[in-house]
Symmetry: C2
Subunit: 427 residues, 2 copies
């Protein structure tokens, strides 16, 4: 029965992936005229015409197509669509003078914002490595390595460790404050872990392995709360907790007060990030061939905090954020947090074989399939009220694309199969 | 009278440089057969035939020739001899597969030790930048920048800041202990400051400036004693003071006990390094266009420690090393420490206009000119007893070359002229 129950979730996830998510994108994302991907769609899946191609949306789309191909979907079609996106990234978004990728282009491939933003470069490394792993085309790894080398040269803080994140086109470090040149964020250092994991998986090089391990050590020893193991969003260069402010260059719709600060700027943790950090770390440990046992206590702390404080047992789904010690500040529901918590909770089931994580997974799964997925289109609403009413309704944008949704289904299917395959598995 | 006194020292230094030091090297260093420089000479200036070309001796010789040319010596001849050394470094010592310079060659240009050692690469950056500044040949800066980029990629510790120092040929980090892969040294981080200063002087690039400033911050806030401002030789990766051990790859004849540790492995500071650090920092501040006032207290602490504990008022010259709080462990006299303290004390005279530094300078100057210089050859003995009797007598070796001696005279002449030019200058 347990096995049959898992099977129902597996079938639902796979069906959504194959019949809704992937077709939504493959049928409308290719820009034959301008190259690369069209990424702006309204709630009906209609192209909004917004004249933007962001590094985030292009690289995440390339990741989506490559990773789904590598996981066995699409019968080859996804690989060819991935190649279309690589061409645009390497021929249009790559800065031949200073190296690195521009932050924002128009659809025709002209530069709109030429700054070099580390957040975007972590996704460039991630998607280009995944593309070579998926297709064997060496161009992906070549440019992933070039990007890695540029980051090591320009972004590392050799004084305090870690990475600076915001630069001008020529990699001059940006100024302080809202320009972000004096901050270090959990978000970027977590996505570097994700990127370096796949880069190392692809290259097998010692330097990629070493910098991945160093980044993991930073995350564990600097960027999570010493007691609660919850993520802390922002730091000064010398690793003091910094008030969480809004940067001039944004990569999402995170909500701030009028002053550009969170209402609780120094005591704020995000459930989606915490679960994402845990499963990405678990994956990194796999790829590194290291011992999971050393990290079990950490994983238990993070997943317990997620289910104790982040799961809405009344209306279902995952809250946005709250204080480290527990409680919730923001009870709305963001699409990507549901996606990351689904993967994380399935990892928790596999690691700990404890029923409580399975119950929490089912909660989030149900909320996603009943409320978050826009059945008329096949993609997810980006933001909903606590009760599950859509607040924002667009399907695609520079900061809302297929990476979280498709990855959640690809990775959930892998994990649900593992759960199912364990004959002796009793939750 | 003060001015005339300074003039006597100036004339003596310049005469030694022009009539002894430079001719000693230019008349015998060019290897027409194997390329590059011959660097092994006995006390009579005779080639010992030792079949080694070390990265240290080749790069330091290139620095010597380039810097002396830039300072106005040699009537163009030194620039052409410098070009001869650049050819060997770029065509024979550069690893075309993995990048970077081999550690040790034979005279014919075959690799003897292929490891990548950061200490050597700091001198590569230093000499190649100085070569381009001196001659305008762009090859120097091109390879200095390539080396800088490799260091940023392979050597930075993104976890704790600073640089790892010992690598295999392919830049895999060396193991711990005597292999040195888990240590950070004052020596290397100080010479990186020296190298990045000249690289930035040559390139004017922001990234070179930024990494120079970060290295200076590490040196000031991590690597000198918080109370005495004296240099601490070795650290663990996470900046704990480490017992001073001998590494498998050596770049000098520093003396250790049978266990490969100093007799006082955790309370040991070197007068030559302290003064060298201070004047190199003073020079870096000049090149960066930063304010000296901020550092005056630091400089006073270092130079006062040097003259209070490092100067031998009985027999003259500079002791080797002692405890941070004062006193001396090793009363022998090493050639290079005399050289660096001479430059440092002249900086102290210019910064503080205090007679005590001038008295100390004269002490060291006299010791050098009466005891250390081997008048029969024109170069300096590498090691002497406290009283000034030579212990080692060779004039050149892989770890004893013209860099300290020629630089001391070039830099002393510049500083003695400045002292002399200050009409109103009263010590």
């Amino acid at each position: 029965m347990q096995k049959e129950e898992i099977n129902r979730y597996l079938i639902e996830a796979k069906s959504h992936l194959v019949n809704e998510l992937l077709p939504f994108w493959t049928s409308r994302m290719i820009d034959q005229k301008g190259g690369g991907y069209i990424t702006h769609f309204d709630q009906y899946g209609k192209d909004t015409g917004e004249d933007e191609k962001s590094l985030i949306a292009q690289s995440r789309s390339l990741y989506t197509l490559s990773s789904a191909h590598r996981a066995g979907y699409g019968e080859g079609k996804l690989a060819s669509l991935a190649g279309h996106g690589v061409d645009f990234m390497l021929h249009k978004m790559w800065d031949r003078k200073h190296g690195g990728f521009y932050w924002m282009m128009d659809r025709a491939g002209n530069v709109k914002i030429d700054q070099k933003i580390l957040y975007g470069h972590s996704f460039a490394i991630y998607c280009l490595s995944e593309y070579t792993l998926a297709t064997g085309d060496p161009r992906g790894l070549e440019y992933a390595e070039k990007t890695f080398d540029l980051i090591q040269k320009h972004c590392t803080d050799t004084r305090f460790g870690g990475y600076f994140e915001m630069f001008d086109r020529d990699w001059t470090l940006a100024g302080p404050g809202s320009k972000g040149g004096d901050r270090k964020t959990l978000d970027v250092h977590m996505h570097l872990m994700e990127a370096f994991t796949t880069l190392y998986e692809c290259s097998g090089k010692e330097v990629h392995r070493r910098k991945l391990i160093e980044d993991i050590e930073i995350l564990i020893h600097r960027m999570i709360h010493p007691e609660y193991k919850t993520g802390i969003p922002q730091f000064t260069a010398d690793w003091r907790v910094a008030p969480q402010i809004k940067f001039d260059i944004v990569w999402g719709w995170d909500r701030y007060s009028g002053m550009g600060e969170k209402i609780n700027p120094t005591d704020n943790t995000c459930y989606g990030h915490n679960a994402e950090f845990a499963w990405l770390l678990n994956h990194a440990i796999d790829i590194l061939g290291m011992d999971h046992d050393h990290y079990l206590h950490l994983f238990a702390s993070i997943f317990d905090h997620t289910i104790d404080h982040g799961i809405d047992t009344e209306f279902g789904g995952v809250f946005v954020e709250g204080p480290h010690s527990g409680g919730v500040y923001d009870k709305e529901k963001e699409f990507w947090q549901q996606a990351e918590v689904m993967i994380g909770l399935l990892d928790a089931c596999l690691l700990f074989k404890n029923e409580k994580y399975w119950i929490a997974y089912k909660n989030v799964h149900h909320f996603v399939f009943r409320k978050v997925i826009n059945r008329d289109a096949g993609e997810w609403y980006p933001l909903l009220t606590r009760e599950g009413e859509p607040v924002w309704r667009h399907m695609g944008h520079s900061w809302k694309i297929n990476y979280h949704t498709v990855r959640a289904m690809v990775q959930s299917v892998i994990r649900l199969k593992k759960l199912q395959d364990k004959q002796s598995f009793k939750l």
